[in-house]
Assembly symmetry: C2
């Protein structure tokens, strides 16, 4: 039987070595961009336009768009939102188009666009993602946004959770070491995720700026069936 494969790429800088035009690429940046994007769609945002540079984001702002823009966790002064999922309330985002630029997440989305489909993944929509991928029966490549191209443990853990769930379908297989490692780490962490996540570097960064209030929320599973998908230059609901 021709099995579908699962791979995990731990950094945008490694993407060329994992690139697979047949694959569904799930981009994840658990703390906080992908959790924020899923939340925005849960709260009724119409579309999100990811842009790589702050200059682009600023240009959109000047044209009247709502803009979410952060670097190193801090909202930029010209922007309407930062990167916290709590920013994207229904009151603020319902029916809106939002331009979005973050330190790590939005660049990863652009890279991933060579895949057959680009989805935004978070614990918030974990099961819905796994079900969709298994239904499509395509290869899965999880692209971790990481931190300035470095490995991020919280993204790897999510990759392990998603890979494990897709692998329950016996038509999937993996011989990818990064996937195997991510699944083992998730197995180690899952019994006490909040205790485990204490140690990750991004928690220290967020805490330093008093932005760590979202960590529990960003690890809540299956709050929604919504899957953001890249359509041309913007994200919409699948």
């Amino acid at each position: 039987m021709d099995q579908k494969k699962i791979e995990v790429c731990y950094s945008p800088a490694l993407f060329p070595y994992y690139e697979n035009r047949e694959a569904i690429v799930v981009v994840t940046d658990i703390l906080r961009a992908s959790s924020a994007i899923v939340t925005a769609f849960m709260n009724g945002v119409d579309r999100i336009i990811p842009v790589e540079t702050l200059e682009e984001a600023k240009a959109y702002k000047d044209r009247g768009f709502m803009v979410a823009a952060e670097r190193d966790g801090m909202v930029r002064d010209f922007a309407d939102f930062g990167n916290s999922p709590y920013n994207f309330t229904a009151e603020r985002v319902r029916g809106e188009q939002i331009v979005y630029s973050t330190t790590n997440g939005t660049n990863a989305i652009k890279l991933a666009s060579s895949g057959s489909q680009v989805l935004i993944g978070a614990y918030l929509n974990l099961k819905a993602l796994a079900q969709h991928i298994r239904k499509e029966q395509k290869d899965l490549l999880v692209l971790c946004a990481g931190w300035r191209n470095r490995y991020s443990l919280e993204d790897a853990l999510f990759a392990g959770a998603l890979a494990g769930m897709v692998l329950e379908d016996s038509r999937y297989n993996t011989v990818c070491d990064a996937t195997l490692a991510a699944m083992d780490l998730y197995d180690t962490a899952k019994g006490d995720m909040m205790g485990y996540i204490e140690k990750v570097a991004q928690r220290h960064r967020l805490k330093k700026n008093k932005l760590d209030d979202v960590i529990g929320y960003c690890h809540e599973t299956d709050l929604t069936g919504i899957i953001p998908v890249l359509r041309g230059d913007h994200l919409a609901i699948l």
Copy 2:
């Protein structure tokens, strides 16, 4: 107290994001280059000259040097040796200079040369490495050779073993997610390393070419106190 830091870089392609000129860089390619290099020095080789390309290796061969050269696990026809530690017997290597070019390992050695010292690490010299690093009291950066810039589990496990051993010295600390993940994976694997290593991709590659006879040997610990160090263009004993 000014603590020394430990970091792990999972791929040569990520090295720019981890580069640290103050650090001792330990290059590892457990299956098989770094295990083979340590073995060659155990068996009395005088020096090893790492070269990146097969063309360079061939040019050295034409000038009368002994040459070890492989790609994708297979010895090249012009070479005296491949990449198996079993090739580097005392009978063949004692007192010799050997030019060495491999798929992943030798490129990583060149990259690492921006560090304050470049060492070759394997399970074979694990404890000696940890003792030397702690004595020097310098930052530690473990550079995993990986596989064509992809993550290799067997290299990550070794990085975790070494990091854990150095961290027993309370003057060391880590806030590097890749290091934390590697240590947790090593903890998961160490009780039954040979059982665990069954699943890694490189074992499948070696087995396909009947080159997997060395896997047990490459995971034997502390057979030697010898540490290969990069001195200019060649490796010698520290």
